[in-house]
């Protein structure tokens, strides 16, 4: 994910600030990462490198820890956060299909953010309304019975139109021998 203008300075300042009153022992890596993520909203590669340098540990160890725990995110939260429920009920009635639709329409994968930072996509476990399965939570708003058509509807409500050409090529792709 490329940084936006002025973000590098924000990251450098954020990390420096978090490091100020923090001890540099390896054991304090998790609280430190939480603190930095709290400030920046996510863990950019640059932040992980700066932290590794400060704690004098390999950068891959910081990355390994950040990818181990779900709590840490490596991509910035989008302006609109889409959470697709993959709890048992939602999964059984096609939660994975809804996730797939979002992935294709936004051209990003799970836990990723669109390059314009408008949307970020996440998989969550049960959000507590299984009767409406499959459920998608869009910016705190719970959407029930999310079919592929509803996925397009949700994105349309944010002004993201389905490109005509994409639809066309899909159809052509199906028809071609």
């Amino acid at each position: 994910m490329s940084l936006i203008e002025g973000e590098e300075e924000l990251i450098r300042n954020g990390v420096a600030e978090a490091l100020l009153d923090h001890d540099r022992a390896r054991e304090s890596l998790i609280p430190l990462l939480l603190k930095v993520q709290g400030k920046l909203g996510y863990l950019p590669a640059l932040a992980m490198e700066l932290i590794a340098e400060a704690l004098q540990i390999p950068a891959v160890d910081v990355y390994g820890l950040a990818t181990f725990y779900n709590r840490f995110r490596l991509n910035p939260p989008g302006k609109h956060q889409i959470q697709v429920c993959m709890g048992t009920a939602c999964y059984m009635v096609g939660g994975d299909i809804a996730l797939d639709c979002f992935e294709r329409r936004l051209e990003i994968g799970e836990d990723e953010t669109t390059p314009d930072r408008e949307f970020s996509l996440e998989r969550v476990a049960c959000v507590g309304c299984c009767t409406m399965a499959p459920v998608v939570v869009v910016d705190e708003l719970v959407e029930g019975h999310v079919t592929p058509t509803r996925v397009d509807g949700i994105l349309l409500s944010f002004g993201r139109e389905i490109p005509k050409s994409a639809e066309k090529t899909e159809q052509e792709g199906e028809n071609s021998p």
Binding site: M48, P58, A59, V60, G64, T67
Partner: protein, 219 residues
Amino acid sequence: MSKKVTITIDGREIEAHEGEKVLWVALDNSIFIPNLCALKEKEHPSGSCRLCYVQVEGRPEPVTACTLAAKEGLSVQTRSPQVDRLVKSAFELLLSNHRLGCGRCPRRKSCALLKIARERGLKMRLSRLSALELDVEIDESPETFAFDRSRCLLCGRCVWICQEVARVGALGFTNRGITRRVGTFREVSLAQSPCTECGLCVEACPSGALYFKEKSDDK
């Protein structure tokens, strides 16, 4: 130096330093105990491969030899029905995550898995488990060696060597669970990582995951 103690392995009385791990005492005395993740220089054994089980007299369950410290009067058996069962299961679990096709493997003559299979009469194929399909690209970016993750057993030897011996820190464990892998910072290729191509990780690899391009077993 710590004091000398006498322990018994498979009925043989052996002198060892107190506190020394039984796995190394056995291997130094040409008694084979299967192992993958163990490194003698490593202070805290990771105990992750679960292959070095031995039966200790007076204990109901087998224990891993790499974590078992020698003490006066300790008596162990390297084989027992319980041990064999545990090793067989652990071995099959490792195999299920390891691309077979030993004929084309660059390490087919020095493979630790093949050695364990030979010594313990285990089969190099899956009977109870299905294979985990690994569709990964081989990282051939370093000049002298390559990394084929589909043969990686996650023993962690290369990671430890890279960090503690080579002091490079290019390799590490990333992700979790079924997606756990040995990787680099942001999963870049080894050539783009801090890797210095010292080759120590390749020498430490027990399977065909890390191999020298030139010095493979058939050359």
